[in-house]
Structures are given as structure tokens and as C-alpha cells.
Symmetry: C2
Subunit: 342 residues, 2 copies
């Protein structure tokens, strides 16, 4: 079973392994710099479905199917799935996996969903008696746009701080101790942070304090420094949020800049694909992790990875009622070797 | 750490204890047969807030505060909170607890949220290295009505199969091994079931198959029978769903009728409070459990309790798009004695 370290960090006893993972994207993601790393790029963003919501469900379904297949398992081998998304009542996930017969535990962490799912899967593989657990999430530009912002047909102008919701998905099968890795060694559960940002078109600013709090807590809990890691990967702060993250951490004498990048800055080409401040959506960091990043851990090019997914816990209703934006960030420490401790 | 039993059931190694719990309701709940058991009945259903959503957040906040106090703990003692609700993006919970500084893991299980939270809390207390974990949820008639159905001012007529959303909440502090109980001995993670029901005003019919599947699986996994338990408590199937549950289980030669009741049938008086098929909402089974039921376990009047919370995983969007209603039910086995196994 996991052991608590410091205030919010838990170190796995026998680090669970990520036995299989998959990422699917659509046209814009395929045309971006990471396009070649996705398992599937479907240039039809309807995914042959009649509505955008059903397209998102299809995306979630196909990614889970592929991750299970790549892990060399069948649905009967899976003890449970942690899934969630941005849609009201998480219908992208529930309708996506409803026919698979896998015990289902729904989670809601907005764009922090992938890290939340991975950490819960690791906890239950390490100390819950489960063998194989899926963490899954997806997002779709067209469902998010019409639910959170404007009807697609309206063609509203986007502000410079806005981020572009990824049409993409990631799913990972986390397996109890043993295996070849990548390994989930530790996790830091984030607190809700809210510094009063009310601009729903500036998620980076709203989420940066949550990322800073969790990253700083992890270093405090483990007594380690940014230089101890190969990569500190946030998702999805974009440019505005990443700059703020550096500033907030520097105030605490933590300098992560040389080790840091953000999934929201990797998936699209800033010169050729105009997405303003970067990318976002549950599927952004999930698909970047499961396409471009995890293979580098498997290959040993990345040995020590901190994956921090950030979520803005607002709704259109809370924004309309004048509320600020609470955010959360969860951290998962992933390594190429099983090892012990942090 | 927990051990897997059969296909979907997990038996805790050192059963965690529910060290503190609280329930808050409003006028209608106070006037019902369980009113006297609530910790607080606030006859002002706005809870002194400016919007119904903020009222629901206040309800969630106050219940968590009270549960922590009743457990003899402070917020600094809490390792994490599992919370969720019916509102889009779960803002009832996120805004409710954002100022508490407690590590936050959002869950979405619709009205199955309380059981999902309790089981995850038990897993993490038993094998995750955590000491104190909160499971919390709330619902509010006025937020649910306007989000899922009609504007409150519209005064739409309700169908005979419809259920009334409880304005209420429940929160429980689950503490690692030891303590005086009640104890969480085992949990069964439910699968998504969807038998094609499309009537969003008939949740009982949509959710009964999920309850039946999980209950049957628990008996199969543990080799036990309904007679082995003092109470089989579902929430919230109401009258229609309870009748269907009996019918579905009888087909498999499982007769639970003499041991069963449903939270949706307990909280309001069917003669004096016209709620048609019963009550519903995340806060229904959470508040019934944390007001009327758990004290009976503490007192030893109930020794062996199966608590099964059911959730309908639909959204207004999925209904408008002609979809049927996927449902899930999670089971938590609660006892007055720590014991071992099931």
C-alpha cells in the first residue's frame, strides 16, 4: 500500500505499471507537430456520428478499446475504469464506455481528469486489490465550444488569452506491480485554489496558482528539486498560464523553467495553427501524454517525469453568476524504472 | 490492502471506520418522517444565498464542516475529499469546499455519488496511506429542476413516475482502521447498465437494472444471501424502481423484499407529501444514510447493512438527442462490528 510523504504526496509501495496506452486525434491534431505520434488520426471530426456529443463518446470508446488491446488484455481483465470529461454530466465518458461491461467509477476534474484517473488507478492497483484499471478521458472542440461558449455557427471572435479545445483522447491501462513500465511511483493530490480570476476566456491565469501549489507541495513533500527530474509537464496552462506558473514558483525560489513544458503548447504549431494562448480540454494533456510522452518513457529517453494536469472547476452558470474560477492540479510521478521511494 | 472477491467485490483488510457524519435538509425534508434525525433543518431553502446554485454549495460546505467537527477533527487532519453532485461541472461541490484547503478529488456518479465516494474513501484509507477522507454530496430541488427539467416559474405538471429531488446533503469522514465504527467492510463496483429506457421522468425504471446487477453480483461474489443482512438499502429507486428491482432479482431467484427499503421512499411521507414515485437526487440517499441509518448502525440496531446508491448517467443533451439512460449502482457493505471478510 502507498505511504504518505509530507502533506499531500503518496508513494506507491510497488509502483504500478502503465501496461498499455492510446491516443486518438482529429484533423487539427493530425496537422500539428505531434500528429505522427497519435495511434489514430481521424480527419472526420464527426467520427461518423450524428451529433458532436456522440462523436466525443465514440472517441472515448475507441481509445479505451485500443489501450486495452495494446496492453494485450480484454475487457474481462479490467477491474474498473476511471473516466470523465467536460460535458455536462460527463456523457462523453458514460455513453462512450457503457457497452463495455467494465465496472465504472466516474470522476470530474475538468482538464485535470487524466492525472486524477491515473493516480486513483495507481492507488487501487497498489493497495486496492485490483489488477488492471483504466484511466480515460476525451474532449471535442465542437462540444466544448457550444456548451461553454457560443453556438459553433456564431463564429465569435476569440480573445488573445483563450485556448483551443483539443479534439482528442487518451486512455491508459494501469496494472498492479511488475511489468516493464512506465511506472507510477508517486502522486500528489491537489487542493482547490482560487485567486479571484473571473475571465472564463483566461483559463491559464485561473489554473496557474493550482499548478504552482501542487508542484511546490510535491517538492516540499519529497525534498527534491526541479533538477531531479527530466521533464515537468503541465497540461493545459498554455502560454499565459505557463508564464504565470514560472512567476508564482520563482516567488518561492523554485525555478522550473529549464525543465518545464506544457501540453497546451506542444500539440499545435503556434506559427501555422493559430490557437492564441495554446490548447486545452481534457483530451489535450491526455492525448499528449499517451502519444508523444509515454513512448519516450518506455524508450528510456525520459527517465523521471512529473505530469501535472490542471482543471478549471467552473461552469457557464457559475460564470454567469459572477463567480471566480476555482482550479485544481494533480501530480503523477512517472518513471522508466520501478525503483523505490521518490 | 483490500482483497478482490469474485468479480467486482473488494473486501477491506482493516475495515475503515466512519468516524463522523452529518446531514442537512430543508423545509420539505424537515416536515418528512426523518426530519427529526437530521443534524440541521434549515427552513430557508436559499440558505441565505443569492442563487440556488450558491445555496447548494452552502449546503455542501456546511455539511462537510459539521461532519469534520463531529469526527473530532479539523480540516488539517483530512487527507482528501471525494465530492460530486448533479450540477453541470459539479459546481455545488467545487464551490462548496473550495475554501477549506482540503485536497480535492472530484467524482461524478449522479445519485450514486455517496456510495462511490464512500468506497473510494475506504479503498484509500485501507490501502492508500491516507488517514481521514471525506465522502460528500448534496442536491437541491431548485437547481436540479431548472437544470434538468423546466424553469421553476413554469410550474410544469409532473408525471406519476417522477421523483422529487431532495434539498439535502450528507457527508462522512472515513478513517483508517480502528475506531468504534460503523465499519466499511467491503464494496462492489458497479457496471453501467442500459436497458433502453428513454423516459427521463422515470429514473426508477432506468436505474433498477443497475441496482439489480450490482446486488446480484455482490451475492455471487460473496456467496451470501439477502437473509444474511439486516437491511438492503437502495437509493433512489422510488416506488417504480423498487418494484422493478424485486422483479428483476426474482428472475434470478434472489428475493430481497423482506430486507429491502429505498431511501427515496423513506424521506417524504407518501400521504402528506405528494412526491409521486418517491424522492431522488444525490442528497437523498446521502442524507438518509447520514441522518437516520448510520446512527442505527452506531447503536448496534443495524449490524449488517448493504448500501447501494444508484445513478442515472444521462444529461438533458443526451435525452434531447434521443438517447436512452445508462445507469450505475455501487454497493458499500457497512457493519457495526469490524470483523473480517464478509
Amino acid at each position: 500500500m502507498a505511504k504518505k510523504l509530507g502533506k499531500q504526496t503518496y508513494v506507491m509501495d510497488t509502483p504500478p505499471t502503465i501496461a498499455g496506452f492510446a491516443a486518438i486525434g482529429s484533423k487539427k491534431e493530425g496537422e500539428g507537430p505531434l500528429g505522427q505520434y497519435f495511434d489514430v488520426i481521424n480527419f472526420d471530426s464527426t467520427f461518423s456520428q450524428k451529433t458532436w456529443e456522440k462523436a466525443e463518446s465514440k472517441l472515448a470508446h475507441d481509445t479505451v478499446e485500443l489501450a486495452v488491446k495494446k496492453a494485450g488484455l480484454s475487457y474481462q481483465d479490467i477491474d474498473c475504469i476511471f473516466a470523465g470529461d467536460l460535458l455536462n454530466q460527463c456523457i462523453g465518458s458514460t455513453f462512450g464506455v457503457r457497452e463495455l461491461g467494465i465496472p465504472y467509477l466516474g470522476i470530474y476534474g475538468a482538464c485535470s481528469t487524466m492525472a486524477e484517473g491515473l493516480m486513483l488507478a495507481a492507488f487501487l492497483a497498489d493497495g486496492g486489490g485490483m489488477q488492471n484499471i483504466i484511466a480515460s478521458t476525451a474532449s471535442h472542440f465542437c462540444t466544448a465550444e457550444r456548451q461553454y461558449r457560443f453556438p459553433l455557427e456564431y463564429g465569435g471572435q476569440r480573445t488573445p488569452t483563450s485556448q483551443w479545445t483539443v479534439t482528442g483522447s487518451g486512455a491508459a491501462v494501469v496494472t498492479a506491480g511488475g511489468g516493464a513500465g512506465p511506472f507510477i511511483r508517486a502522486a500528489t493530490v491537489g487542493t482547490i485554489e482560487d485567486k479571484g480570476i473571473k475571465d472564463a476566456a483566461n483559463m491559464g491565469a485561473a489554473m496557474a496558482p493550482a499548478a504552482a501549489a501542487t508542484i511546490q507541495q510535491f517538492f516540499a513533500d519529497t525534498g527534491t528539486r526541479p533538477e531531479d527530474y527530466d521533464l515537468i509537464l503541465t497540461g493545459d496552462l498554455g502560454q499565459v498560464g505557463s508564464d504565470l506558473l514560472y512567476e508564482l514558483l520563482l516567488r518561492e525560489d523554485v525555478d522550473i523553467k529549464s525543465r518545464h513544458t506544457d501540453c497546451g503548447l506542444l500539440i499545435y504549431d503556434p506559427d501555422k495553427q493559430d490557437v492564441h494562448a495554446g490548447a486545452s480540454g481534457c483530451g489535450c494533456c491526455a492525448s499528449v501524454l499517451c502519444s508523444y510522452i509515454l513512448p519516450s518513457v518506455v524508450a528510456g529517453r525520459l527517465k523521471k517525469l512529473l505530469f501535472i494536469a490542471t482543471g478549471a472547476l467552473l461552469s457557464p452558470t457559475s460564470t454567469q453568476q459572477g463567480e471566480s474560477i476555482p482550479s485544481v492540479a494533480h501530480l503523477v510521478y512517472i518513471t522508466s524504472e520501478p525503483g523505490q521511494g521518490v
